[in-house]
């Protein structure tokens, strides 16, 4: 019952925000602001045109892709670019490696940061836990270049210069942001809820798994999406950490089109499209969590 309520919460928050806000600009009038809508639609072209170019270039023949007109529609429509890109990037393997890293990053981030946030919020009055919180949070201000070279050396020494090492580092760099979101969310859960479970004789671990973790679901969705995006789109870490080129992720492999195959634009754009499509699809299916996570608690 409680779980369902909370899972439904983001929509409620969003819709409250919408209705409360329905008459912001144009004070009091309920008419649609058409000029503004048109201006926004025109502005959205700055986002859509680069995506359109990627899409149309990917479906062109090689000869059409080099004719210098990026904005023309592909004619005749050709999928040969995809075939070549598939082979050049060894797509099934590089895709699987990217998915593998992202899956560990998402699962690891959600589990480790919800554990940590639960322990921290429960023991906030203890100095050690409070310091641990600030210690983890401090990483938000640590520039990655500062630790990169040493991390490359250390991961090499312990034989983690591979996708597993990259995934672990992705989890570690995502901790600060995620622990912060979870801790903020845990504050909003009434202590009475937990106490009633304890009266029923549940241990702390049981309380966490049966009560708290399900309650955290909407925040876990937000944390998970951000962990996925950060991991899937990352270039620096896999390119520096993974020493075996055969174990490289999809975005990193795209650099081959800058050198070896720089004139087959249809092939390179087909490859770019295959590298960016998964994250766009994930976003389109999960976008309400992206918004709701930020609106509740996180930044208040």
């Amino acid at each position: 019952m409680t779980t369902q309520l909370t899972v439904g919460q983001p929509e409620a928050v969003a819709s409250v925000g919408e209705s409360r806000h329905a008459t912001r600009v144009g004070a009091g009038r309920s008419r649609t602001n058409w000029p503004l809508t048109i201006v926004l639609a025109v502005c959205s072209l700055t986002v859509l045109v680069p995506l359109y170019v990627t899409l149309s270039m990917a479906f062109k023949t090689t000869s059409q892709s080099v004719d210098g007109n990026a904005f023309s529609l592909p004619w005749p429509v050709s999928v040969s670019g995809f075939g070549q890109a598939w082979q050049l990037t060894d797509f099934p393997r590089s895709f699987a490696i990217s998915v593998f890293i992202a899956a560990i990053a998402v699962g690891g981030t959600i589990l480790l940061s919800s554990f940590a946030a639960y322990a921290i919020s429960h023991n906030w009055q203890r100095r050690a836990f409070r310091w641990a919180f600030f210690y983890l949070l401090a990483a938000m201000f640590l520039p990655f270049p500062v630790v990169a070279l040493s991390q490359v050396k250390l991961t090499g020494m312990v034989h983690l210069d591979n996708p597993i090492g990259v995934a672990i580092l992705h989890v570690m760099f995502q901790l600060a942001f995620s622990v912060m979101l979870f801790t903020a969310f845990l504050r909003s859960i009434p202590a009475e809820l937990e106490e009633s479970a304890r009266i029923d004789g549940a241990s702390t671990a049981q309380v966490f798994w049966r009560l708290i973790f399900p309650l955290l679901a909407p925040m876990s969705a937000t944390v998970g999406i951000f962990a996925f995006l950060a991991s899937w789109n990352d270039y620096v870490m896999p390119s520096l950490i993974t020493s075996n080129p055969a174990l490289q992720t999809l975005p990193v492999l795209q650099q081959m089109f800058q050198t070896q195959f720089s004139n087959n634009y249809n092939v390179s754009f087909a490859s770019y499209l295959m590298a960016m499509a998964p994250s766009i699809l994930v976003y389109l299916f999960t976008q309400r969590w992206v918004m709701s996570g930020l609106t509740q608690g996180a930044i208040k």
């Binding site: 990627t54 921290i120 983890l136 520039p143 500062v146 845990l186 770019y272 918004m291 930044i299």
Partner: protein
């Protein structure tokens, strides 16, 4: 962000229990230990090695401040700092201005609000290096073609090949990708303002411009500070978009600090670039602290 999201101090949940349950230790400390190994140890190691002549492997000896003196007298590194700071400053202003205006527009009474929001957020979810490759094609081919057709001479050559203009391309693509996350935070901020404040202002005859200046901006000041802090920190670390667009060029015109540090890995001047990284770290901390001081003043309204 950090300051504003702390749990309530002195939470009463477990104060009646004299000892911390072991399960809490199990929940927290292994993660803290892993975090220490993965981030703190490399950071400390880098700082220590910056005082040596290490080339990244093998023996080394301590050389004191030699690397630091060299860094401060290296025109290439000073140029990288100049470029990175200038680029971060311009981008942070541009991103926040556009994102703020977009947030106001996207919370107004418009058609297709949900779809428009969805579209404007898309750049956030695309890999920086991949979109940089797409834009580098547009800047190198489409823009000069269009400029030639229109007879606009300054843009007939690729701006990526122009040492004095290449940074503009870097700013455009970085902003393109960074606007959505700032936008989301601003939308949350604008939505957090109760509508009766606007109604009261409208009754008093305040114009929309006056409402923006006297209500929206002051009441979202905390969000502005957060966006500026996060944005500045991210732009200071700029790497993959620059790599995809200009590879630091032409020449070294768009080489960022991050790029010069990473070059230490391939060029063998490991400890030298670690000194650079340490200085960079100190600068990042100082900027963060200055901005946090500013936050304390502003978030209380």
């Amino acid at each position: 962000m950090a300051i504003t999201s702390l749990p309530t101090p002195g939470g009463s949940r477990s104060s009646h229990r004299p000892r911390v349950e072991p399960v809490f230790h199990l929940f927290l400390w292994p993660t803290v230990a892993l975090f220490t190994l993965a981030i703190t140890v490399p950071a400390v190691m880098g700082i220590v090695l910056s005082f040596t002549n290490s080339v990244g492997f093998g023996e080394f000896r301590f050389t004191g401040l030699t690397n630091y003196i060299a860094v401060f007298s290296d025109p290439a590194i000073l140029h990288a700092y100049g470029f990175t700071l200038w680029f971060s400053l311009v981008t942070v202003v541009l991103v926040n201005l556009i994102a703020f205006l977009l947030a106001i527009a996207l919370t107004a009474k418009i058609r297709a609000r949900v779809s428009l929001r969805a579209v404007f957020v898309i750049p956030m979810v695309i890999s920086g290096i991949v979109i940089a490759y797409v834009f580098s094609y547009l800047f190198a081919n489409s823009l000069p073609t269009a400029a030639t057709a229109l007879g606009f001479a300054p843009l007939e050559q690729s701006i990526l090949a122009n040492p004095s203009l290449a940074w503009v391309a870097v700013v455009i693509v970085t902003a393109w990708q960074a606007i959505p996350s700032a936008l989301l935070i601003y939308i949350a901020g604008v939505l957090s303002i109760p509508s009766d404040v606007y109604e009261a202002a409208a009754l008093d005859g305040a114009s929309p411009w006056r409402q923006l200046r006297s209500i929206t901006v002051p009441l979202t000041a905390g969000y502005i500070v957060i966006n500026v802090i996060i944005g500045f920190k991210n732009f200071m670390n700029a790497y993959d978009i620059i790599l995809g667009l200009t590879n630091g060029g032409p020449g070294t015109a768009t080489t960022s600090v991050a790029m010069s540090i990473f070059s230490g890995f391939t060029n063998g001047d490991y400890s030298y670039q670690m000194a650079n990284a340490t200085i960079f770290f100190v600068i990042a901390v100082v900027i963060a602290l200055l901005q946090l001081r500013a936050t304390r003043g502003r978030t209380a309204f």
